[in-house]
Symmetry: C2
Subunit: 205 residues, 2 copies
DNA sequence: AGTCGCATGTAAAAGGTTACATGATTCG
DNA sequence: CGAATCATGTAACCTTTTACATGCGACT
């Protein structure tokens, strides 16, 4: 079974869910589209890790409520003892930051300001969720502990990234980064950027 | 062209590289295996974004040094104006934190301590690189600016995650999280965990 | 004697996204 | 009247990983 499978077991270990609910719950844990979730649920049910019951609804489409089996719990318990594989981060914004020197100051600043906006939106959404968990009094003695600490983790890190963004903005202004680069390049057309490519030192990357 | 292609253009915009060098440089930007890089380099060369020259070596295998063309630079410049897609993070450790309540205190603490060790190792490696960039005097007026701010970003965030890890460890100890859970479960076998599954509130995830 | 670094490639398999398909209800 | 939510599924496609394939030199 793959990591998505264990993420599904982790959610179902707390509470039986439909595939639709799973897809929203998995967003913070291991994002996946429904087209990946539904076939995997079927596979896992066939292998005995999950069970499901049909629930008929009126006004809404019928659904399947999946729950974890004993075999599923054993699989999850074993997996919990394995050391986690390295995290994978793929972030186009980082590539654009890396190539900042290649664009104009206006665009570079816009990229950073947009990033800050996105991060702030995420942080404030999570803050509401955190307050909700705290009000339920479930933050340090239940299955909600994991959710509670993960929500906080995301907010700690996103706030730190906002600080970093502001730090970069300051660096750009204080050191006149773009003006200095343009100074070397005389004007800043692609041809002139070209001529400057081996102007600087020989550091890696 | 996909994001990996633009990551490659971003690296080659600074300095011509072999595919082998690219694979190491891309690690922080957009990780990729050589089996993905080599065929893409060929494709991008055929489309006119890259050019290469054969370099014969003695003692070492021959290599191809790729460099970005004018067409490549134009493509990169255009891409820099597009707003970046959302970051993708996949981290097994987060799933295990989420399912902390499902394992024993010893294992939970081990997972967190191992995470701290890994993060500390990464941070100290990066610190050396940062000092190197600063000594080259290249941090605020060159193509190395991007690399400099990205190295710092990773360290800011990893240090913040170390703080978070310690915060979680304290929470576990201070609130006797595991003892409280075991109290509810009476003993902690899988069967008894089973019986407790709907004991707590009805919060999402 | 064995592993690491340099160096390039292909093939197969697994993982993940986008698009196709359907359809009622509720809210603005 | 259009968009969002609930709800499940398949097919085609793209991306990424793992495995296969080779080979010399340097270091332990």
């Amino acid at each position: 079974m793959n990591t998505l499978g264990y993420a599904i077991l982790s959610v179902l270990a707390r509470r039986p869910c439909s595939g639709y609910q799973l897809s929203t719950y998995l967003e913070v844990l291991w994002p996946a589209k429904h087209s990946q979730i539904y076939p995997l649920l079927t596979k896992m049910e066939q292998k005995g890790f999950l069970a499901f019951e049909h629930v008929e609804q009126t006004g809404k489409p019928d659904k399947k409520i999946f729950s974890i089996t004993e075999a599923g719990k054993e699989a999850l318990a074993l997996w919990m003892k394995e050391s986690p594989s390295d995290r994978i981060v793929r972030d186009e914004f980082l590539i654009k930051m890396y190539s900042m020197w290649f664009t104009d100051e206006e665009n570079a600043k816009k990229l950073i300001h947009d990033r800050i906006s996105k991060l702030k939106r995420k942080v404030s959404l999570r803050e509401k969720k955190i307050i909700k968990v705290e009000n339920e009094g479930a933050h340090h003695a239940s299955k909600h502990f994991g959710r509670y600490v993960l929500l906080n983790r995301s907010n700690f890190l996103d706030k730190e990234e906002i600080s970093w963004c502001n730090w970069v903005l300051k660096l750009i202004s204080n050191t006149n980064f773009f003006k200095l680069v343009l100074g070397f390049l005389s004007a800043g057309t692609l041809n002139q950027i070209n001529q400057s490519i081996n102007f600087f030192g020989e550091l890696p990357i």
